[in-house]
């Protein structure tokens, strides 16, 4: 199959002088949004105690642990700005991402020990479940840096119970283990109650000598016999008990290494724990990338920084999808699936680090005379029509057969609407695409490059494809909403406008409401909002997008659950004809 992949078709071209000049304002606008995102990330990193204070206690911060643990240059953070319930700390108090450890891809997650000693917080269970989902979809180890003081008690009603509550991740650890996905844990500090289960639920436990894990900690044990109310005498008793348990917390190393043997190994230093994680990761089962590579890895011909010039931040401006793709894939090469059909979507095979990835993306701009074939109105890219939906169904199904992971790149305003669109079966074809994705068992990732709108955001590999979408990225240009704010304002208030007009009342108050709604849509669709609410798993600077696609490709091919031999691939042969 070498001839199919060694030299594929050229994609894109170098930017011309005029294009560079024209894009100056666009570059500036994108950089401004990226600066805001970067400032928000720094705010998360600075949450809680300063690093010096943690270091003065003889501990490393979670950030320092991560830096020591992961291979340089491979950290791809996820959920950094995720804070759906608006915690005043600005974080759900876990830090996670994809990274290589000793050369192997893993999902890494750790409690932020600078913030309330790594307490459970509102939104945290969902954050952990998302990280676990990434490990599950990509079939890579989950590596924990446990340092969890238990629940932030005043907020417990927001996260302790419920179907996807703070206990759900422990079941999910068991599920990962059932699937053969190891969960490694380095354990630090005091981990009572929920923290104890965070410590005990992984597969292999490495302990720092001063750590403890327990069903209940000093706070619970010392407060177990209340009279029904508190008084001074009771308070004195609590002080005495609490002092004792603070000095001798339950679940210390002498118990869980010496007696129960839960801890596999104990280390005097923080680095010792991390070295053990590295050593075990080195020994994890993983294919060498050459097993799956179809060619040698090569950088794209054109710089990733070009994306600042190629992707207009103004959602009304059109651009070339092929030019964008040429900045993401090896040697800016591809082979396109059905280029003469369904022009509104690109589908094709590209290499990323020499690994085969299926790419799907929305083309932008006018699609030419006679399209869509079922209507007499013109078609504009970004929207999905009959042919495009049929092509996507076919491509996804072929990728599933050939075991080729898929990277979706969305910039979509939705699926065509109206009587003719209904007669053209677009509703049915959209749901057919959902069916095609559901029965296609390959990892997928999504970049919402600009617009993620309407049902098209679902059917084009959106995060709603829970079993398939490993993660979703946003960029400074991302906006996600059910429809554009102005469209929503019209849909909401047009009948009211008629009523007011017929009654002879002034229209100004309704117009004001329409403008308010449009603004609300704008504000609640921006990249920061999307990251905070989890509509995307991370907002990534333009030049970093390829790095995340590389991480996805590397992780997806590290230990796939099923194999299609290269010489049995059908998609390249179907493309060649």
């Amino acid at each position: 199959m070498r001839p199919y992949f060694e030299h594929m078709d050229d994609l894109g071209h170098a930017l011309r002088e005029g294009e560079i000049k024209r894009a100056r304002a666009n570059v500036k606008a994108i950089e401004q949004v990226e600066a805001e995102i970067s400032a928000a990330v720094e705010h998360v990193k600075d949450a809680g105690f300063p690093t010096e204070k943690i270091n003065a206690r003889g501990q490393l911060t979670v950030w320092q642990r991560l830096e020591y643990l992961v291979d340089p240059g491979t950290w791809c953070p996820l959920h950094t700005l995720y804070n759906p319930l608006d915690n005043p700390e600005g974080t759900t108090n876990v830090i996670d991402g994809l990274a290589r450890i000793s050369g192997k891809w893993a999902v890494v997650i750790g409690f932020d020990n600078k913030v309330l000693a790594g307490a459970w917080m509102p939104g945290q269970p969902e954050n952990i479940l998302r990280a676990q989902d990434v490990a599950k979809r990509l079939n890579v180890p989950l590596v924990w840096l446990v340092n969890c003081s238990g629940a932030k008690l005043p907020d417990q009603e927001k996260f302790y119970a419920n179907r996807r509550g703070a206990g759900t991740p422990f079941f999910r650890h068991a599920e990962l283990e059932q699937m053969g996905i190891p969960v490694l844990a380095g354990i630090y500090g005091t981990n009572p109650a929920g923290g104890g289960y965070q410590g005990i639920s992984p597969t292999i436990l490495f302990a720092h000598e001063k750590c403890n894990i327990a069903v209940g900690g000093a706070g619970i044990v010392s407060g177990m016999a209340p009279k029904g109310e508190f008084d001074v005498e009771g308070a004195e008793g609590l002080i005495e008990k609490a002092r004792h348990f603070k000095a001798q917390p339950p679940g210390r190393v002498e118990t869980h290494f010496g007696e129960t043997g839960f801890f596999r190994q104990v280390f005097e230093t923080e680095e010792g724990v991390l070295d053990a994680l590295k050593e075990y990761m080195r020994e994890m089962p993983a294919y060498h990338p050459r097993f799956y590579r179809v060619a040698e890895p090569v950088r794209p011909k054109f710089p990733e920084e070009d994306l600042y010039r190629l992707v207009p931040i103004d959602p009304k401006r059109v651009y070339s999808f092929e030019q964008v793709l040429a900045r993401l894939v090896d040697n800016s090469e591809h082979i396109e699936f059905r280029p003469d059909y369904g022009p509104e979507v690109y589908t094709g095979l590209c290499k990323v680090d020499g690994l085969l990835i299926g790419f799907v993306g929305n083309r932008q701009g006018y699609l030419g005379k006679g399209y869509p074939e079922y209507a007499d109105y013109p078609a504009m890219g970004g929207k999905l029509y009959r042919q495009g939906l049929i092509k996507l169904n076919e491509f996804v199904t072929h990728c599933g057969r050939d075991r080729v992971p898929i990277c979706w790149i969305q910039d979509t305003s939705g699926i065509d609407v109206g009587d003719l669109a209904e007669k053209a079966e677009l509703l049915g074809l959209g749901q057919s695409l959902i069916y095609s994705i559901q029965q296609t068992d390959v990892p997928m990732m999504l970049i919402v490059l600009r617009k993620g709108t309407a049902a098209a955001h679902y059917v084009m590999g959106g995060p709603t494809a829970n079993r398939h979408n490993a993660f979703t990225l946003g960029a400074a240009t991302t906006e996600i909403y059910v429809m554009h704010g102005e469209t929503a304002a019209v849909a909401t208030y047009s009948r009211r406008l008629i009523k007011e007009k017929d009654a002879g009342r002034p229209l100004d108050p309704i117009v004001e409401k329409m403008n308010e709604l449009a603004k609300q849509y704008h504000d609640n669709s921006r990249p920061l909002f999307c990251a905070k609410k989890g509509l995307v798993d991370e907002v990534v600077p333009m030049p970093d997008l390829r790095r995340y696609v590389q991480a996805f490709a590397g992780a997806a091919y590290q230990n796939p659950r099923s194999i299609c031999p290269q010489h049995h691939l059908m998609l390249p042969r179907i493309i060649k004809g």
């Binding site: 011309r16 005029g18 009304k316 701009g365 504009m380």
Partner: protein
């Protein structure tokens, strides 16, 4: 030699970016057509001078209408 700049699609002329008599380089934006809520820029196909602009902002154009005439060197 004269080259006609044609409308790639039907729509409304949203912005003119050049003036008659002005020099223009290949790939420079000549004007923007608004259609189907999207803005489609129309670029110069070659270096040259704008001899004549046949449309003004707000005009409706059909596909293949002549938008401008460029004199090439």
């Amino acid at each position: 030699m004269e080259q006609k700049l044609l409308a790639p699609l039907a729509g409304k002329i949203l912005r003119l970016q050049v003036e008659a008599g002005g020099r223009i380089e290949e790939d420079e934006e000549v004007l923007v057509i608004e259609a189907l809520k999207m803005e489609t820029p129309v670029f110069a196909p070659c270096d040259g001078t704008i001899k004549e602009i046949k449309v003004k902002e707000g005009d409706d154009v059909e596909e293949d209408d002549v938008l401008a005439i460029i004199v090439t060197e």
